[in-house]
């Protein structure tokens, strides 16, 4: 499979499946994952966060390359999985049962 992320983030290619477009889809992937999977992605992405932030800071959102967009989506997914890993210790918000709050529109990336 061709690389989807900027070349300097090739070590994150095994986690390219987390470069998901849209908050709703990212949240669904979180709920469909085990804590081990979330932790593994979190650890790998968090380890490169300083470099990723430096990369993203260089571009306006509309000027991002396709690879740059995917890096942004991947780190948006890190935001989505940070709650289970850092706070909840489970994929779902505690006591949230069947309730859902869904993104209906968000700024284009």
């Amino acid at each position: 499979m061709p690389n989807v992320l900027p070349p300097e983030f090739s070590d994150l290619e095994p986690f390219a499946a987390w470069a998901v477009h849209g908050e709703k889809a990212r949240y669904e992937k979180r709920l469909a994952s085990t804590m081990d999977e979330l932790q593994e992605f979190y650890d790998a992405a968090f380890a490169r966060i300083d470099e990723a932030l430096a990369y993203l800071e260089r571009f306006a959102v509309e000027d991002l390359s396709e690879e740059g967009k995917r890096l942004l989506w991947l780190y948006c997914a890190l935001c989505t999985v940070a709650f289970p890993v850092e706070a909840w210790r489970q994929p779902r918000v505690p006591d949230s049962g069947p309730s859902s709050i869904d993104a209906v529109s968000e700024p284009l990336v």
Partner: protein, 424 residues
């Protein structure tokens, strides 16, 4: 011990004697009968926020809104005269829904030069005038000028579009918003054009969900898990006190402290927040919105630890203004006595780069995590309130004064409506 000064009466609640201090009943939130009265007395009589002017960027831009509580579907449009107009979303010919796509019950938005009914191609100009009738000569004593769309009163406050289904209302939107609204005027809402919209179907009465967002007494407990353990313990000890509560008519405001953006000590917050310099309170590095000074109703006491204003505009609209220059709005659209549609919308300044976009993302998903906790808790509350229990009244403390105020005014509206002979 009080950290912030209360009114001379000794409490916020006693400062407003009409609210009382006794236990309250939630029988205004658990029966179809009371809800039917609310639909007539409140949702067809007061000003309801349906969106913002930025949603209608040019002449011909429109969106529809399904307002079950008022029993109406409406279409809101920017007319050829560059005015914001609203109409009942119904074709004058045979009552077809005029503006919709694929699924009649879903809201839509878009751009058009005229509205054309899918059924017989009657056409309406953006100001509602009927401009084309198929085989017009087949009708009897007919002048299409008499068959324009039915208008709804529509006014704009600070870029927020409101409608009022009462054609006889004597209160302008500006007057309706009162001193609470007046105090925010001039805030640069129009600069916050980076918008994230969320929607949820909640199995609880609309007022109970407002209650959840109108007090922070619950925050250290229900949401405690989001904080680092040491910080959580500290918050549990201190609890919550508002800096100030203010009321005018049915509207309310809460001024709250919030030293978390940025935090005094980075170890207070989670690792991702430290890295992205963002969290529930928003990105820590506030964008410059060109404000010389906050409007007088934002941080009214000019407290140095101020962090967030919450405004409850009766009946179902909340604005939250956060210190780092972003805004969150909540809408609660009832669909029955024990269900409603919740809308949460985050408004940011456009990010200067992709890193700022990421910081905004963390604020948005943090809002969602909290909202999910609140939402499910309330579905449980609704069920227990409706259950067969001897527990009928509930004590509300002084930090829950906005709840007391909201339910008081909902009851007042319904009582006046019934006293005036209202059927429902």
């Amino acid at each position: 011990m009080a950290h912030f000064e209360k009114p001379a009466e000794g409490s916020w609640t006693e400062h407003y004697p009409e609210l009382g201090t006794g236990p309250v009943s939630y029988d205004d939130s658990i029966t179809p009968e009371f809800y039917e009265s609310e639909r007539e007395a409140i949702f067809r009589k007061t000003w309801l926020n349906v969106g913002r002017v930025e949603q209608l960027p040019k002449v011909g831009s429109y969106f529809t809104k399904e307002i079950d509580a008022a029993g109406a579907s409406i279409v809101v449009v920017r007319s050829a005269k560059d005015e914001i107009r609203s109409f009942y979303n119904i074709c004058r010919h045979r009552g077809n829904k005029l503006v919709w796509n694929d699924y009649p019950d879903r809201e839509v938005s878009g751009f058009c030069r005229q509205f054309t009914c899918k059924y017989h191609a009657w056409r309406y100009a953006l100001d509602g005038e009927c401009v084309f009738v198929q085989q017009e000569s087949e009708f009897f004593d007919f002048d299409k000028k008499d068959w324009g769309l039915a208008p709804i009163r529509t006014e704009v406050w600070e870029g927020f579009i409101f409608v009022n289904f009462d054609p006889d209302t004597e209160t302008s939107l500006h007057d309706y918003m009162g001193s609470i609204g007046k105090g925010i005027e001039g805030y640069p809402f129009h600069k916050l054009t980076q918008v994230h919209r969320y929607r949820a179907e909640i199995g609880a009465n609309w007022k109970l969900f407002i209650d959840a967002f109108a007090e922070f007494y619950h925050a250290p407990i229900l949401h405690g898990g989001q904080y680092e353990p040491e910080e959580r313990a500290k918050m549990g000890d201190v609890g919550y006190e508002a800096i100030q509560y203010a009321f005018d008519g049915p509207h309310a405001s809460i001024s709250s402290w919030g030293v978390i953006a940025p935090p005094k000590d980075p170890s207070m917050v989670k690792p991702i927040e430290r890295k992205l310099r963002s969290g529930l309170f928003g990105p820590w590095d506030a964008p410059d919105l060109g404000m010389k000074e906050l409007p007088p109703g934002v941080n009214p006491t000019r407290h140095r630890n101020w962090g967030i204003m919450s405004y409850v505009f009766f009946p179902n609209f909340m604005i939250l203004i956060w210190k780092p220059n972003w805004v969150l709005t909540y809408h609660y659209w009832p669909t029955s006595h024990n269900t409603h549609v919740f809308e949460g919308t985050c408004y940011f300044a456009p990010p200067k780069n992709a890193r700022e976009r990421l910081a905004q993302e963390l604020a948005v998903v943090s809002f969602k995590e909290y909202g999910l906790q609140d939402g499910n808790t309330l579905e449980a509350t609704q069920k227990t309130l409706e259950s067969n229990t001897p527990v009928k009244t509930f004590p509300l403390n002084d930090q829950e004064v906005v709840l007391r105020h909201l339910h008081h005014h909902a009851r007042q509206y319904v009582a006046h409506h019934r006293a005036a002979g209202g059927q429902a």
